[in-house]
Assembly symmetry: C2
Homo-oligomer: 290 residues x 2
């Protein structure tokens, strides 16, 4: 069985009904068990034990509170809007190095909070009319006082897929990847297409292959900034590749023994496999029968 | 086999590489075979033969052109940005009545164009800084000249699912549905959750049931305004329902005979089934073995 998927497994009741209930929301803030996730911009700050840092609500902090949910013990968990002008991007490499400090459940909680805080920081103005907007629905939306438009956090679906031909699958690398690293091909789903159509389009655009028999494998949230990775397989009709070199620097067909060697970080492996938090690794493990 | 999924099956090469190639984009506009989809706001205008209306590019029209793609005959297909102030919403009932005029392929082309034009109309300002933005990437994005932020069309993933218990599935209705109409439950995927977690959360929030064994069935784009419907099944642990009556007016467990009667529009059916364009109908057909 593959490892659990990264950024999944948060054991928090999102308590949707409390978001729109002002009395319940105020009671959650006043709850003495309530805590707030401490962030630096949108990066987490390791606690004393190495995990996330949850602190009591500071009444002197006037940044808006967003309700992440209610934990197993009944305690409300919050996160605050980033301070105006806080740096909210470009630290992904740092956070990727820190993430192994977190348990799977903490990584999932952090990922959701990060996407939410990031979205607010980059959506302070109404896209319809340009007026500054206010947070509403307990932190799960913004509303424009001028035109009345309501805006909700983005979740951007991305298809990520292994094309198969006979007993091999296609892996590729972008120019910015570390040396030797290959992964599954991926791309954003566009308006007007199904997942299956997006898989076929991306594989044709990036690698020049036509596929059939697209099947779903698994999904994970990917908080950089707010993707929903939807992992699939597809069957290639012909293995000849025509790469879009603006997207893909190199791609190759690899067999199960090569995939297993890469996943085991063997010295002789033909490529370096994606890290354990990434669904691309899950797709490779699943295909290799691990 | 269920019917093909609504709004899928567009046979158009989206020609992503032409969006960012100014010379290729200009050549596509100058191509004498190029046509533009005629819209009224974001609704389609039926052509003489009942289908979509595609007209030659009008050089006197100064609204920005977006490249939908290249058709099988090599002809570029465009759509234009809506006029400033055009009404771009609230006509869904009208367009739902007109949609049966379109072939499956035309409905898919129209759905993608509608979502794109609608997104531009509601995103004329930069969400980061409030400045008016300009269309770029051949119509597949907007860029802010003030802060440099780039914005891309939204696709909002929605899970829509049949919970199963023994040999029955759960259907529900919202207050705004026409009398007697029931469908699959559904809800937006939120930041920080997988598809499987979203299915479990929505079924618990709306119907009070706990589920396991979530499986993927099919997907479709749903251009009202830009959802990606992801159809799933899940197995309920217990059939007792606790409805969130702010979301769901009524829900009930129905067996295969009842589902087949509803799909056949039988007089004695216990509910009216969703229309053929909706993935909810596909889920019911698939489950009923039709």
């Amino acid at each position: 069985m593959p490892l659990p998927l990264g950024f999944t497994g948060a054991r928090l009741d999102r308590a949707d009904q409390m978001r729109t209930n002002e009395a319940a929301f105020a009671a959650a803030i006043a709850d003495p068990r309530a805590t707030c996730l401490t962030l630096d911009g949108i990066d987490f700050v390791p606690g004393a034990s190495g995990g996330l840092l949850w602190e009591p609500l500071d009444p002197a902090d006037d940044r808006a509170l967003m309700l992440l949910g209610i934990d197993d013990a009944g305690a409300p968990r919050f996160v605050r809007e980033a301070a105006a002008g806080a740096r909210v991007d470009a630290r992904t490499r740092t956070v990727m190095r820190l993430l192994p400090l977190l348990s799977a459940e903490e990584a999932a909680l952090y990922g959701g909070a990060r996407s939410l805080v990031d979205w607010h920081a980059r959506h302070r103005f109404c896209a319809v009319c340009g007026t500054p907007t206010d947070l509403f629905r307990g932190g799960w939306g913004r509303r424009c006082g001028a035109c009345g438009a309501e805006h909700f956090p983005r979740v951007d679906p991305v298809v990520i897929m292994l094309a198969e031909f006979e007993d091999r699958v296609l892996v590729g690398r972008q120019g910015g990847f570390p040396p030797g690293f290959f992964s599954a091909l991926a791309g954003f789903v566009e308006p007007g297409e199904s997942l299956e159509e997006a898989v076929a389009r991306e594989l044709f655009e990036e690698a020049g292959i036509h596929v059939s028999d697209v099947s779903y494998v698994a999904s994970q949230p990917w908080p950089f900034p707010s993707s929903l990775m939807i992992g699939c397989r597809a069957v290639a009709k012909d293995p000849a590749l025509t790469l879009d070199t603006t997207e893909i620097e190199a791609a190759m067909w690899v067999d199960r023994a090569e995939v297993r060697a890469a996943l085991a970080s063997d010295m002789g492996a033909p490529f370096l496999a994606p890290p354990s938090l990434a669904i691309a690794r899950y797709l490779l493990e699943d295909w290799a029968g691990l």
